[in-house]
Point group: D2
Chain length 339, copies 4
Amino acid sequence: VVQKTGASKLNVGLIGLGRLGRVYARDLATRIPCARLAAVADLSQPALDAVTREFDVPLSSVDPERIINDRSVDAVVIVTPTDTHGAVTKAAAAAGKAIFCEKPLSISMEDALEMKRTVESSGAFFQLGFMRRFDRGYVAAKARLSDGAIGDAVVFKSSSRDPYPPTPEYANPKTSGGLIIDMGIHDFDLARWFMGEVDTVQAVGGVLAYPQLGAVGDIDNAIITLKFKSGRLGVVDLTRNGIYGYDIMTDLLGTSGTLRVGYLRETPLMVMTKGNVAHDTVPFFMERFGEAYTAQLENFAQNVLQGRKPPITVDDGVEVLKIAIAATRARETGQTVGV
Amino acid sequence: VVQKTGASKLNVGLIGLGRLGRVYARDLATRIPCARLAAVADLSQPALDAVTREFDVPLSSVDPERIINDRSVDAVVIVTPTDTHGAVTKAAAAAGKAIFCEKPLSISMEDALEMKRTVESSGAFFQLGFMRRFDRGYVAAKARLSDGAIGDAVVFKSSSRDPYPPTPEYANPKTSGGLIIDMGIHDFDLARWFMGEVDTVQAVGGVLAYPQLGAVGDIDNAIITLKFKSGRLGVVDLTRNGIYGYDIMTDLLGTSGTLRVGYLRETPLMVMTKGNVAHDTVPFFMERFGEAYTAQLENFAQNVLQGRKPPITVDDGVEVLKIAIAATRARETGQTVGV
Amino acid sequence: VVQKTGASKLNVGLIGLGRLGRVYARDLATRIPCARLAAVADLSQPALDAVTREFDVPLSSVDPERIINDRSVDAVVIVTPTDTHGAVTKAAAAAGKAIFCEKPLSISMEDALEMKRTVESSGAFFQLGFMRRFDRGYVAAKARLSDGAIGDAVVFKSSSRDPYPPTPEYANPKTSGGLIIDMGIHDFDLARWFMGEVDTVQAVGGVLAYPQLGAVGDIDNAIITLKFKSGRLGVVDLTRNGIYGYDIMTDLLGTSGTLRVGYLRETPLMVMTKGNVAHDTVPFFMERFGEAYTAQLENFAQNVLQGRKPPITVDDGVEVLKIAIAATRARETGQTVGV
Amino acid sequence: VVQKTGASKLNVGLIGLGRLGRVYARDLATRIPCARLAAVADLSQPALDAVTREFDVPLSSVDPERIINDRSVDAVVIVTPTDTHGAVTKAAAAAGKAIFCEKPLSISMEDALEMKRTVESSGAFFQLGFMRRFDRGYVAAKARLSDGAIGDAVVFKSSSRDPYPPTPEYANPKTSGGLIIDMGIHDFDLARWFMGEVDTVQAVGGVLAYPQLGAVGDIDNAIITLKFKSGRLGVVDLTRNGIYGYDIMTDLLGTSGTLRVGYLRETPLMVMTKGNVAHDTVPFFMERFGEAYTAQLENFAQNVLQGRKPPITVDDGVEVLKIAIAATRARETGQTVGV
C-alpha cells in the first residue's frame, strides 16, 4: 500500500473520462495541490488526446492495466461504468495502488462482496465516492449534529429530485440498477452516515411522468421508508420529474431541533414583477456538488499521502447497496424487507 | 332543512366552548357578517357565562339539546369532544338544523358510518370541518393545480410538525385515535382533496422523543406512504417533536412543476448578528390557521343561507377516516393495508 | 378629559367613513372588546347608512359636531381629510373628548402648531396614528433593539414602495403635501422612534415613471438622507413604482448586528416551474398593516380607559412634519436643510 | 500592442503577490486555460519563492521592470498598491504589454488622468478590474435589464457592508482615499454600468462604530445619493460595521419591475431550534466574489488573445473616480457636488 508523507504529491492515474471523469481530470491537474494527474485511461482515443493535451498528462492509454501497472502511478481514481468497478479494483489492488472508486460500488451484491474480499485480502487503500459527504451543507449538518445542536436525531428525511429524466438506455435497470439504486443510494448513504444502520425498509413507486422509463423496466418516482436498528425512522423520496431544477433536500429532526440542508436558488438575482417574485434554480448536480467532488478527491489524496483511513469504505458500499436492493425488492413486493 | 336566501343572517347555536369553541364564538359573534351567535352550550357554566357576557348571546345552556331544539337556532356548530359528535349530530339532524361538525367525524368507523346514515336519512345539511382547505395557501395551490400550472400532480408530500407534545391524557389512543388519526387526518384530507382516493397505505412509527406518550399507548412520530387508486404516490410524515415551531408543509409534484404550501416565519423581523441570520417561527395552529377557521365557518354559514352544498361532506369524513385507520393498522402490522 | 377604569367600554364616535374609516368602523364594532362604536359621522349619507346598518350604530350624523357633542360619546376617532384634522380636533377638545387622529397631523406647519396649542391648552387626551409602530415586526424590532440585540443602532435605512401610483388628484401637493410628506412621513416617524431627533436632511427626487404626477406638481421617487442630532445617519427611499407589490422594508444597523423588518410574500405558496421559483407579493397597505391598524386603535381605547399617556403625541406629529417639510425643501433646493 | 488569435495561451506577468495577487496567481496558473503564469514580481522574496514553487513559474523578480520587459511576457496583471498603478502601467505600456490593472485606477485625479494619457498615447490594451461586473448575479441582472424585464431602470440602490473594519493603517485616507473611495467605488461603477453617467452627488457620513478609524481621518459609515444626467436617481450606503457578514445588495427599480442582486446565506444549512430558524452568512469578499475574480481575469486573457476591446477602460476608471471624489467632497461640505 502506498504510504507517503509530507511534501510530495500523489501521482494519480485516472481511469474513465466520461462527464465526471473529465471533471476529475481538471481537479487532479489544477485544483488539488497535493495531487498530480500522472496518467489517464479511457477506451476513447479522442477523449485521451483532449485531456492529455489540456493538462500535459505524461501517460495515457486505452488500456487501464497499462496505467495501473505503471511505476509512475501511486493511486487510481476509478470513474468507469459501474459494472467494471470490480475488475479495475481487482487489478489496482493487485498492483498495490491506492484506490478511489466512484459510487455505487456495484449494482450486484455478489460483485460488491467480491470487491470487499479483494480489498480486504489485498489490504489496498480503498475509498468509495459519495460526494454529498463533502458538501459544505452536509458537513456543517454533521458538525452541528455532533455539537448537540438538535439533541438526538430521530427522523431522517431526504428528497432527491432530478430536473429531467435520464435516457431510457441509461435508466435500464440491468445497468443502472433502477431508480431506487441509481438515485436513492446517495440518500441511503446519508441515512447511514447521520443515523446508523437500517433494519427494514418499505417502498412504493411507479411510472408517473415518463412512460419511456417504464418501457425499459424502470420507474420514475419512489418513496422509501426506513426503520433504523435503533428504532429511529427515515423516509427518502425520489423523482425524475423535479422539472423546476435539481433539488436535494435533507431534514434531520432531533429531540431539540431540526437541521435542513439544501437550497433552491442558483444565481443571486431576484426578479420582481407585478405580483410576482421569482428566482432561478440549481440546474443539475455539477452546479450543486461540483465543489464537493473536488473536496472529496482532495480528501482521498490527503488520506493516501498521510496514511489516514478512508472515510467511506468498501464496507459502506456493501451496506448501502443492501439498503438499496432491499428497497427495490420492497417496492416490487409491497412487503417490509429486512436489510 | 334550513334553506334561507339573501339578506337575513344565520342564527347559529355553538356547542362546545373549549379552546377552538371560544374562537368560533368570537368568529360567529363578530367576524362573520352573515351569521349571528344565537346560542351556546357547554358543560361548564363559567365558560357559558364568559362567552354569553362577552358577546351578548341570547341563549345558553349546559344542555345541548336545549339549544338544538330552540326555534331561534337555525344551525349548530359542533366543537365537542370527538366521541360525542355522533350523538349531537343525531339530535341536530332530528331537529332539522343545519350542522357544522369539527373534524374528525369520529375515531371509530362504526360511529362514523352511523353518522353517515343519520345524515343521509335525515337529509340534514352537514358540513365537516377541515380548515386547511380554507387556508389561503392551500386554496391558491388548488387553483394553480386546476389552472394546469404544474401539469398533472403525481406525487403528494405532506408534513405536519407540532412544536410540543400533547398531554398523555389527550394523546391516549382510546380518545384521540392515536397520532396517525389525530394529526394525520388533516394530511390525508389534503391528499384526497388534491389527488383523489387512496388505495393502499404503508406506515412506520415509533416513540422517539416523548416516552410519556408511549406510556399511554401512543407514538410520537410516523411516516405513512400512500398509493392512490390512480397509481399516484403520496407520503405523510408526522411528528410531535417539531420543537422549532408549528410547521405544516405540503408539496405537489407535477409533471411540469411543483407547488409548495407552507412557511416558517411568524414575525416579519430578521435578526442578523455575527455570522448568523435568524427569525422566529409559527407558534402553533391558531397562528397558522386562524384565518382559515374563520373563512371555513363563514363558508358554512353562506352555504346554508344560499342553499349550496357543503364542500366537505360526511362521506369525506368517512373516507378520510378509512385512510387514517388503515394507516394505523399498517403501522402496527408492518403490512401494506388496503383502504 | 375622559378617564375611565376597568370593565366599562369606551364609547367611540368615528368621524370619516372613507376607505380606512370603514375599516376602523369594523374594528371598533367587532374587534376591539374594550370599545363600542357609539356614533359615526360622514358627509355621505349612504356611507352612514351602510355602516349604521351593518354594525347597529346608535348615532349617526352628517355633522361631526353632532356626535362630538353627544353625551354618549367618550372619544372620537378622526379619519377625515388631513386639512380638516385641526378643526375637528378643536371641536373635540372643546367638548372634552379623548381624541385619536389619523396621520399626518397636517401638511402645514401652522396648522400643526395650532393643533398642538389646542391640545395643550385643553389638556385633551390626543393620540396620533402611525400604525407601523403597532406592527408586529416593528414592535419586535423595538424590543430587540432595547434588549441590546444589535448594540447601538447607528444607521437607519427605510424603504417604502407603493405598487401603483395614486390618482393625480390625490397626489396634488396642495392637498397631499407631495410624495415626501405623504409617503415619507411613516419612515420619518420610524426614524424618530428608533433613533431620536433628526438634525439635517438632504434629498433628491424626480418624476421618473408617472408623468401624470409631475403634471400636478408632485414627484414619484425620492431619496432622503438624514443626519440625527446624535450624529447617526439615516436614509429613506420612496417610490410610487414598486410595481411588484407593496414593499416596506427597514434596516437598523447597529454596532453588533442588524435588524431587518419587512417581507415580500403574501400567500404561503411557491410555484416552481422549469428553472423558476416564484411567489406572490403583498398587494397593498391593508394586507400589510391591517392587524397593526386594529392593534393601534385598541391601544388608543385602552390608554383612555386606563388613564395611560398616548404613545404618539401631538408633539410627535409636529416633529415628524418638520422633517418631512425640511426634506421637501431640501429636494427642491438641493441644499442641506436643518430640521 | 499584443494581438494574438486562436489556440496559443497568453503569457502573463503578475505584479503584486498580496492577498488578491496570490489568488490571481492560482487562477492564472490553474483555472484559466487560455493563460499561463509566465512571471511574477513582488518586493517580498519569500512571497515570490512560495508562488514560484507552487506553480512552477519560469520567471520571478523583486523588480517589476524585469518581468515587464521580458520577452516571454505578453501581458501584465497589476495588483500592486494603488499609488504604484501609474508607474507600473507606464512601464508596461512602454514595453508594449497588454495591461490588466486592479481597481481603483488611482485615488488621485491627477494620477488617474496621467494614466489615461499614458494608455491613450501608447495605444496599450488596458483593462481595469471591477469584479462585480463578472459576478453571475450582476451579469444576470444586466441581461434581464437589457431584455426589458423591468422596463426602464429609474432608481439605483446599492449597499455594501463589510463584516469588520480594516486596520487604521489600511483605512488612512492618504493611501485608501477614505471609505467613500475605497468601498464606494464598486457601487459607483455598478451605478454607471447599469444607469449611465452621474451628474451630481450628495453625501452624509460619520464615525459611528470604530473610533480608531476616525483617529486616522476616515469614517466608517456613509450614504451617498446620486442624480444621473438622465434625471434618474441613485443611493449607495456603505458601512464597515456589517458585523453579521459581507453583504452586497443592489436593487434596480424599473418602470415595470425590480431586480435585486445579492444573498445572505453561505452554507446550505438551516438550523431550527425552539422558536428560531437560523443560517450563516457570507464571510467576506473572496467567498462572495471569488468566481467573479476568476471570470474577470479569464475575460481579460480572452480579450487580449482575440483582439477584443476591454469592457472596462481607463476612462471608466477616471469617470468612476470623479464620482467617488465628488462624493467625498460632498460628504465633507454638506453640499451638492457636480461630478
